[in-house]
Amino acid sequence: MTRWGLLIGVLAAVVLLSLTVGVRPVSLAEAWRALTAPDLTNPDHIVVLSIRLPRIVAGLICGAALGTAGMAMQVLTRNPLADPGVLGVNAGAAFAVTLGSLLLQRADAGFLAYLAFPGAAAATVAVFSLGGGFRGDASPVRLTLAGAALNALLVSLVSAVVLMRGDTLEVVRFWVVGSLADAGARPIAAMAMAAGGGLALLFALAPRIESLALGAALSRGLGTHPGRVQAGVLVSVTLLTGAAVALAGPIAFLGLMAPPIARKIVGAALRPGLVASALLGAVVLLFADTLGRLVFAPAEIRAGVMTALVGGPAFVLIARRLSPGGTS
């Protein structure tokens, strides 16, 4: 399986790159020593262990989570533009975090992270029901517009909250641009478990999602309960997106870009597609993060901006192909 080898090789290369380059370059040998025999008086070791390693771990979790969440949404809705960012799920999580920070007067990341889940859940349910996803007849245009409208509404609400309390702007303006920079301060282990749970659920549901994608009537004939499968996908998308937002803030377009490339590499079957999408999501996010650290060093371009700069054009490219006649 050379394609898998290639994917894993690229991921390993990006991880090593992210571990070694930066404002303070660290040699590979030194990085290896930091991991195996850490010496806490050596500044190189401290950089590797306390700054770069958490970023890499968070990037792997977050990238994999967004890549697979995008894949699940795209297959379920048959919408190549589906992505947790585009459909407003990220914004829902961000809104919940902002509102929570205001109402509960707490700004510690470990606590705020958990608010991302109810926000993501509410936004997922809202966008699917508004876009007609539950009836199984959501056209890509409709779902995307519903997502854009929901996104606009949530952004307005976040704005209202921010303007009520000036000090929340200091939290929010750095938070709404997705970044791995603060990953060390966020609950990585708990979010890894949430994302893992979402991924496992998605994996278990994969054959039924594929049968649902054939259309509601046909899948019912094959013995699938559309409602239950959709509920399962919503739960896993919530877990995956919530974990990603909790670790890195709202990062858009990863879930848009990874699935089509994954399909090109490993074919149309869902399970291998999910794995490839997870690997690709992690590669893109880590690469974006590393590049963002290098371009204007010592200043950083946040990973969310880097993915948007690549993902925005990708969205436009897909949208152009989508609707030559005005409808999907």
Partner: protein, 330 residues
């Protein structure tokens, strides 16, 4: 005709309400005294505080309404409007970029340049693959989708720029980006009146072209219209109107989207010219009313109007979407 007069009456009533209601309530006598040049609390409120605010709101709302009506007629799609297609976001980004770079360029020019550049970008990006372009042109929904994509990218570049600003600068930029009518003076009012009025004048001779284009491009071409040229001119006028409004109030969301259908419903206007006028009136009403609700609903807390129109407009867009769906257009 009666309904058109009703719309004009509503516009007048909303403007009068916006002038009298607020933290300090004025009665009709004080209002009249203030307008006719007497002294007292009325004069201060009218001349310095609420007068310019209401004037700017009326002008910007009318410009946004006109712009939305042009695009919705031109593309024959109720979802096409400069805010949904990302043009106002482009204007906003241009202004944010000039704040970040510390340039002291005139804001209207920056806003217009940003909006125009975004419009051209969306038009180019949305062109069908292969470059084959008949009279039918680019499908409206492709423009809308591409515009949403461009809008997402602009928004994320904008939030990146926000992280580069100092705390007070960021607060200022954030308030500006949400769209606001606070601290507007008569200079802003003059600016939107002159520039918006200029574009409205440019629009007058184009009403016939718009009417023909609504019949469909083939028929319009058959009746002797130079379709491509008329389209480009109308689109440029629409972008100019939107940019003129953004320059004075910021990228206020969804007014351009909502005003044309609301105006048509209220006035009952059928013809192209009547619907344009109704959209302008409805846009002015929406902006002034939203501003009134925003500043009077929560005492001591002045929400910017853009937040208000966003909270009202997004559900409208969703409702519109479900209507379009039921009619089988999407």
């Amino acid at each position: 005709m009666m309904r058109a007069l009703g719309l004009a009456g509503l516009l007048f009533a909303v403007a009068a309400l916006a002038l009298t209601a607020g933290q300090v309530h004025l009665d009709a006598a004080a209002l009249w005294q203030g307008i006719t040049g007497g002294d007292g609390p009325g004069a201060l409120t009218i001349r310095i505080l609420r007068g310019p605010r209401v004037a700017v709101g009326l002008g910007a709302g009318a410009a946004l309404g006109l712009s939305g009506a042009i695009f919705q007629s031109l593309l024959r799609n109720p979802l096409a409007s400069p805010d949904v297609m990302g043009f106002t976001a482009g204007s906003g980004l241009a202004i944010l970029a000039s704040i970040t770079a510390g340039l002291s360029l005139p804001m209207p020019l920056v806003a217009a340049a940003g909006g125009l550049a975004t419009a051209v970008l969306v038009a180019i990006l949305a062109r069908p693959p292969g470059g084959a372009r008949g009279v039918e042109g680019t499908p409206a929904l492709t423009l809308v989708l591409v515009g949403i994509g461009v809008g997402f990218t602009t928004a994320s570049v904008g939030s990146f720029l926000m992280t580069r600003l100092s705390g007070p600068q960021a607060a200022e930029a954030h308030r500006w980006l949400a769209g606001s009518l606070s601290a507007r003076d008569w200079g802003h009012g003059l600016q939107i009146a002159l520039i918006g009025g200029l574009f409205a004048l440019v629009l007058v001779p184009q009403v016939r072209a718009l009417k023909l284009l609504e019949l469909g491009p083939e028929l319009a071409a058959g009746l002797g219209l130079r379709v491509r040229r008329a389209r480009v001119l109308l689109a440029a006028t629409g972008v100019g109107l939107a940019a003129a409004a953004v320059a004075v109030v910021g990228p206020v969301a969804f007014v351009a989207l909502m005003a044309p259908p609301v105006g048509a419903r209220l006035s009952g206007a059928r013809g192209a010219g009547g619907r344009l006028a109704a959209a302008a009136a409805a846009g002015a009403i929406i902006v002034v009313l939203a501003d009134l609700v925003a500043r009077a609903s929560l005492p001591g807390l002045q929400l910017p109007i853009g937040v208000m129109t966003g909270i009202l407009g997004a559900p409208y867009l969703l409702w519109r979407l479900s209507r379009e769906m039921e009619r089988g257009e999407l």
